[in-house]
């Protein structure tokens, strides 16, 4: 699988096997019961280049010399302090700014939204789940912050992991079609404002 993906990367072959029109991020739990919906979006050139629910953090080396207890070794290796994450994700100058922002504001939009910037997304799909309030309750604010910070719009598609009747792929596809105009508009806005993408 690695070799296959590497070949695609080396030869610039899009994951969706179609010309890429929009680079997308997916927020929230995937609609496992209706993954073919994502194929419908792929048909329109929507390439989901990243998602935030399951993607692992970047690996980093932990100095475990002097730690002999196997449980402690496991915990130290697995524990991702916020400091380490920030140092990994940003250049030193920006990492310092992000840490200062967290100390001052309690959180950092740059940290939370970094994957959208890194993957240069044109839009984000927010999958609001009726029965997973843990995953869904922060999504509206996420959309607000994303538009404010990086001028990237979000599309809310409602559904549920358990009750599949709550997910309407036909209605969601109609919303997606209309959302393309929004993404096109904000591409121009970002260009005018001098964003990288």
């Amino acid at each position: 699988m690695y070799n296959e993906v590497k070949y695609r990367v080396d030869h610039g072959i899009a994951a969706i096997n179609r010309p890429e029109k929009y680079r997308m991020s997916f927020e929230g739990l995937a609609p496992w019961h209706s993954l073919s919906f994502l194929d419908s979006l792929a048909d329109r050139g929507w390439n989901f280049v990243c998602e935030s629910a399951y993607s692992p953090g970047r690996p980093f080396t932990v100095d475990l010399t002097g730690v002999s207890d196997p449980v402690e070794r496991y915990v130290r290796k697995r524990y991702r302090s916020l400091d380490k994450v920030i140092d990994q994700e940003f250049e030193p100058k920006e990492a310092a700014e992000v840490k200062e922002e967290i100390m001052r504001e309690g959180s950092s939009n740059r940290l939370r939204l970094r994957h959208v910037r890194e993957y240069q997304c044109d839009g984000v799909v927010l999958h609001v789940l009726l029965s997973c309030r843990s995953a869904s309750s922060g999504l509206s604010l996420f959309a607000d912050q994303l538009l404010d910070m990086y001028k990237v719009p979000s599309l809310i598609i409602e559904g549920d992991i358990i009750d599949t009747s709550l997910f309407n792929p036909v209605e969601s596809l109609k919303k997606a079609e209309a959302f393309e105009d929004t993404m096109d508009h904000y591409k121009k806005v970002r260009k005018e404002l001098g964003f990288e993408w």
């Binding site: 309690g106 959180s107 309030r133 843990s134 309750s137 999504l139 509206s140 604010l141 607000d144």
Partner: protein, 390 residues
């Protein structure tokens, strides 16, 4: 013209109708007002710093219009209401907003409030959800960090003596609330459920000294009142999630019933255990706020490490205090209630019902959406329940 200062239940009613009036007066005098969500933020630390703790609540009579932009409609309507009235400026007098990890949506609300309402100082206490020894140790560390942050905000340091004195004042308040609840053991109770809720809401809108003074007046008035509540057939315990408006209690008490006891968070839950005075006051506070407060947000089981558990023994270890309340307050039945989408309380309901059934206590479960309109259909169900328990 000199306006007579109201006392006792009249003062309670005044505060119930305009909760923020007194704290705005105090703010004008130079006091700092620390808003707090839920009963997990440590009010003793706020009092020790001479801040005025002020419970942030919703308004079930205010249509939710602004918070839908930040919280989806399928989350707790109480929290949506709190955010809504925060966005509408009704909490603009707060100098600080203290939240804690009450539930997942509550945690989201903490960040959303910080970003949108922009109370000048904001802190979230990351209270654990289990009562292991390691969780208790973590709670102590978390509370020490909270204390440090609040000291920075207030511009002064707390000594252990200051904190101990604050604990004593709050314990005094807890003792008086329990004394007030004792008066509900009589038949008829000397104070109705609706009046009790107003008292709790009133004292959570005042500095602790003023709250204690008000409680003394109320207790004295209740014990000597001439126009006592009339006798009714049913005596009920109400358990569940936030009830910060008298509407539901009034609905119940409009029938042949009194709410003589409760286990809710604008009710007995914050007041029925004192904070133990310990050498390091933080130890007593950690024990109280993590272990003693019996809210479903904290996971409890009879034996964490048991491989095989006895279901009923486990339920008994978790809920026998409810049976004690029913017994001590001579209740005929229990109304379990929660707001819609409150997973924390909702998941608890089947097990509480199993326990109450096991010990022969009738119960009914009502789910509502934190609006007055939700109450009418419930009245019929409560009426039916009363007929059963009679």
């Amino acid at each position: 013209m000199v306006v007579a200062v109201k006392k006792g239940l009249a003062r309670v009613q005044e505060l119930y109708q305009d909760r923020s009036k007194r704290v705005k007066e105090l703010k004008a005098e130079g006091k700092k007002i620390a808003g707090y969500l839920c009963i997990y933020p440590v009010t003793e630390i706020m009092t020790a710093l001479d801040l005025v703790p002020y419970r942030v609540l919703g308004d079930m009579r205010e249509p939710i219009t602004k918070s839908d932009a930040y919280l989806p409609p399928v989350v707790c309507p109480f929290l949506r209401s709190c955010l809504d009235i925060g966005l509408k400026g009704r909490y603009d007098f707060l100098d600080a907003m203290i939240t804690s990890h009450i539930c997942d949506v509550g945690s989201s609300l903490s960040g959303i409030w910080r970003y949108t309402v922009k109370t000048p100082f904001h802190y979230n206490i990351d209270t654990p959800h289990t009562i292991h020894d390691t969780s208790l140790a973590q709670t102590k560390a978390v509370l020490k960090a909270f204390q440090t942050a609040m000291e920075t905000f207030a511009g002064k340091k707390i000594t252990p003596v200051m904190l101990e004195n604050a604990i004593k004042k709050h314990n005094e308040q807890r003792a008086m609330v329990r004394e007030l609840y004792e008066s509900k053991k009589q038949d008829p109770p000397l104070i109705t459920g609706s009046e009790t809720l107003k008292v709790i809401k009133a004292i959570q809108s005042l500095p602790v000294n003023e709250g204690n003074a008000l409680l003394r007046e109320v207790i004295s008035e209740v014990k000597t009142r001439v126009n006592k509540p009339l006798k009714k057939n049913a005596r009920l315990l109400v358990w569940g999630s936030i009830l910060d408006d008298t509407a539901m209690i009034e609905m119940i008490e409009s029938l042949d019933a009194y709410v003589v006891m409760d286990d809710t968070c604008v009710g007995s839950r914050a007041f029925f255990d004192d904070v133990k005075l310990t050498k390091d006051p933080i130890d007593g506070l950690a024990q109280h706020y993590l272990v003693d407060i019996k809210c479903p947000r904290t996971f409890r089981t009879r034996d964490f490490y048991a491989v095989k558990k006895n279901y009923m023994e486990d339920l008994k270890s978790r809920f026998s205090y409810l049976a004690d309340y029913v017994h001590d307050w001579h209740a005929n039945g229990v109304i379990l209630q929660s707001v819609r989408y409150c997973d924390t309380h909702g998941y608890e309901v089947p097990q509480i019902r199993d326990y109450l059934k096991e010990v022969g206590i009738p119960s009914i479960y009502l789910e509502h959406d934190y609006t007055e309109g939700a109450l009418s259909p419930m009245k019929t169900r409560v009426q039916g329940f009363l007929e059963i328990i009679e």
